[in-house]
């Protein structure tokens, strides 16, 4: 039982070429919808990938105190209490906060750490080994250095302290090796400087990073911490991963709902178009029936035609999306997923493709197109062949 009739296939292609202008609109429309949706997925997946890479570098458990739902500083000595918990291997504390850099209208992330402390993240470890962080220096990323330079801060940067005084910090070094999302707006400095700029007490820290010896114990310890210290937010790597995933999924979910609407509208357009055959086309079908084509043969030819149009539109859409995202770096769509302040420094999207996304888009384009042509094809196939002769 030969499944595909190649002669019929050839006829379908040849028919489409003869009536190409009728199909061009649909072809372009479907390609655009597929390209748009594929781009959204590619961007979201690339970001997810980056975020997950970032998460890998995070601590096993992150603790931050919360007062009335807002993050608040805690005492540095709390580290000792935490170290006593069974299973906790190491505790690092950090001073962390946002700083609004007015000249360039971006939020900086200030990270205050001490060189002598052991860092959970070996990239920070390397950083502190490489550079000496004293109370007047900062270390920033290459792109941030460029940003500061654009604002005429070549060798040092002014920070405004809560008391109104300016604190001048020298740019002591540039780091690399972090993922774009991590590094982009991060300013590394000593704990003391960070406390000064952020207006915190001399013993204050904002975050505790716990290393846990046995990975399987992480969720147990996290649960224990949540019960023991209900005024702290306790996040495991898993939690952060899921949070990112759900935010991204939510955003892509919105697009997907939009996409659903787009595809259903598309269905109606195709149905409409397929129903409007010119008298020339109708005559051709009539002739075919008169010379021995069955209704099934005509319907099959129409389905082949539909498959060819939909499949090629799908492929064109995917290739367009690939070029748009990975070569042209997705202007517009990219910024929807990355906060505006980041987009300038975003270097490139990681080439991450989830094959199931491709399959998903295929399921939404080709079968829907074919479904839309089923009834019109049948109508055409069942027209009276006798009419042809008159």
């Amino acid at each position: 039982m030969k499944f595909i009739n190649f002669y019929l296939f050839e006829y379908a292609i040849e028919y489409l070429l003869r009536y190409k202008w009728k199909n061009i609109f649909i072809f372009v429309l479907l390609s655009m919808i597929v390209a748009f949706m594929a781009s959204v997925f590619f961007v979201a997946d690339a970001i997810k990938y980056e975020l997950n890479l970032g998460v890998d570098g995070m601590a096993d458990i992150t603790l931050q105190k919360k007062v009335a739902g807002m993050y608040a500083p805690s005492d540095e000595n709390f580290s000792d209490t935490l170290l006593e918990i069974h299973g906790v291997e190491g505790v690092e504390s950090r001073v962390w906060g946002y700083y609004y850099f007015e000249p360039k209208n971006i939020q900086l992330i200030l990270v205050g750490l001490d060189s002598f402390e052991q860092h959970y993240n070996d990239r920070f470890e390397k950083l502190t080994n490489k550079f000496d962080i004293d109370d007047t220096s900062i270390i920033i990323s290459k792109s941030l250095k460029q940003l500061f330079a654009d604002a005429y801060y070549e060798k040092s940067v002014h920070f405004i302290q809560p008391n109104g005084k300016l604190k001048n910090m020298d740019i002591a070094g540039v780091f690399d090796g972090f993922t774009p999302l991590e590094a982009v707006n991060t300013v590394v400095m000593s704990k003391k400087s960070a406390r000064e700029i952020l207006g915190l007490n001399s013993n204050a820290v904002t975050t505790f990073f716990l290393s846990v010896a046995n990975a399987k114990e992480v969720s147990n310890i996290a649960s224990h911490l949540r019960i023991e210290y209900p005024n702290f937010s306790v996040l495991t790597q898993e939690d952060i991963r899921n949070k990112y995933a759900s935010v991204l999924n939510y955003k892509s979910g919105i697009f997907v709902v939009f996409m659903g609407v787009a595809f259903l509208t598309f269905f109606m357009i195709v149905y409409d178009k397929a129903s409007g055959l010119s008298s020339e086309e109708k005559k051709e079908i009539g002739i075919l029936k008169a010379i021995g084509w069955t209704i099934d043969d005509v319907i099959r030819a129409k389905i082949y035609e539909g498959t060819i149009v939909a499949l090629s539109a799908y492929l064109v859409g995917i290739v367009t999306a690939l070029l748009y995202v990975f070569v042209f770096q997705a202007p517009f769509i990219g910024s929807i997923f990355i906060e505006d302040s980041f987009i300038e420094k975003w270097t490139s999207f990681a080439f991450v493709i989830d094959y199931m996304v491709l399959f998903l888009l295929f399921l939404l384009s080709v079968p829907i197109y074919i479904a839309a042509t089923l009834i019109p094809s049948w109508r055409v196939a069942t027209q009276d062949a006798d009419e042809v002769m008159r």
């Binding site: 999924n249 892509s252 997907v256 709902v257 099934d296 399959f359 479904a371 089923l374 094809s377 196939a381």
Partner: protein
């Protein structure tokens, strides 16, 4: 409701299924009640033409259902990462009361629609179209099953709660519980294997006797015992873990997607074997179908037996 792109895709296609299946339902009603092949009326002629539309739609639904089923399995797996506790599709299926009947219905419908297609092909061979009424009566039944399936699917996806902890497959398929499933899985291995290989032998005997009813019945038993033995015995050798019984995990990358291969052959073999009991084919065709059925079932048997044998050869002991 969990709103992942995969779920939305499935729901969109479900909407399309419902619309088209309903159109066909109306056609089917007309055929079942008003078909009169000796009538010479405009009405009968119109009905005839409509029956072609109905057949086309049903074929479309069936051919789409198959990749969609695979996609559904993949979706279950992907949802597993959102449900705390679930580590594969089994956890997701078990998370709601709808999961198991949904899965069961989906499998049933794949067999049912496949049967319809074969019936239709047979019908179109004869000018008398002897199956015209039968096939649309079958469709009337299939329509309700399809609608139930879509309804359950919608309900299942709507009621997934990411804050509720679910059992993972280790818990679902444990043999120490007091559940119905646990009792089935506790059947002694020699007895279960006896049934398994015995049913296979039965099918061979039926083939030589050219008895289609026996063959069909044999295939029915074979589906049941294959799934049971896969979960209870053979699966553990694929995972090389005596407590890992899950029928979903073999679909994952770590096991080279062997699950897809196994289930495909099992489906093809039992499908062809099964329909022989329901349709009277001409001798040559019947023989061919029996051969296809036996071949696929044999391949399934070989692959599934390979694992325990290799394990024994490598390790000298059974699990």
């Amino acid at each position: 409701m969990l709103l992942t792109p995969e779920i939305i895709t499935i729901e969109i296609l479900d909407i399309i299924f419902v619309v088209f299946a309903t159109i066909t339902f109306i056609i089917a009603l007309n055929v079942v009640f008003f078909w009169d092949k000796n009538a010479y009326t405009q009405k009968q002629y119109k009905l005839q033409l409509q029956s072609y539309l109905g057949a086309t739609i049903i074929k479309f639904i069936f051919y789409l259902k198959i990749p969609l089923f695979l996609f559904f399995i993949y979706t279950l797996d992907s949802i597993a990462s959102f449900l705390p506790g679930a580590m594969c599709g089994a956890g997701v299926v078990n998370a709601t009361e709808y999961g198991t009947p949904l899965l069961f219905l989906k499998l049933l419908n794949i067999y049912l629609f496949g049967y319809w297609i074969v019936l239709h092909k047979e019908d179109m061979q004869s000018k008398a179209q002897k199956y015209i009424r039968l096939k649309f009566i079958v469709y009337l039944v299939a329509y309700f099953l399809l609608l139930s399936e879509i309804y359950l699917e919608f309900e299942m996806f709507s009621s997934l709660d990411i804050s509720e902890v679910v059992d993972c497959c280790g818990a679902i398929f444990s043999t120490t519980d007091h559940s119905y499933l646990a009792e089935l899985l506790s059947i002694k291995t020699p007895i279960m294997l006896g049934f398994f290989y015995g049913t296979f032998l039965l099918m061979f005997i039926a083939f030589f006797l050219r008895n289609r009813y026996l063959f069909s019945l044999g295939n029915l038993f074979f589906i049941i015992i294959s799934l049971l033995s896969l979960i209870a015995f053979f699966g553990t050798y694929i995972y090389e873990l005596p407590t890992h019984h899950c029928p979903f995990c073999i679909l994952q990358k770590e096991y080279y997607y062997i699950g897809y291969v196994l289930y495909t052959f099992l489906y093809l073999g039992t499908f062809y074997g099964f329909i022989i009991g329901f349709i009277e084919f001409e001798d040559l065709k019947e023989k061919n179908f029996m051969k296809i059925s036996l071949t696929c079932n044999t391949i399934y048997l070989f692959i599934v037996s390979y694992f325990p044998i290799v394990y024994y050869v490598k390790n000298g002991v059974w699990l």
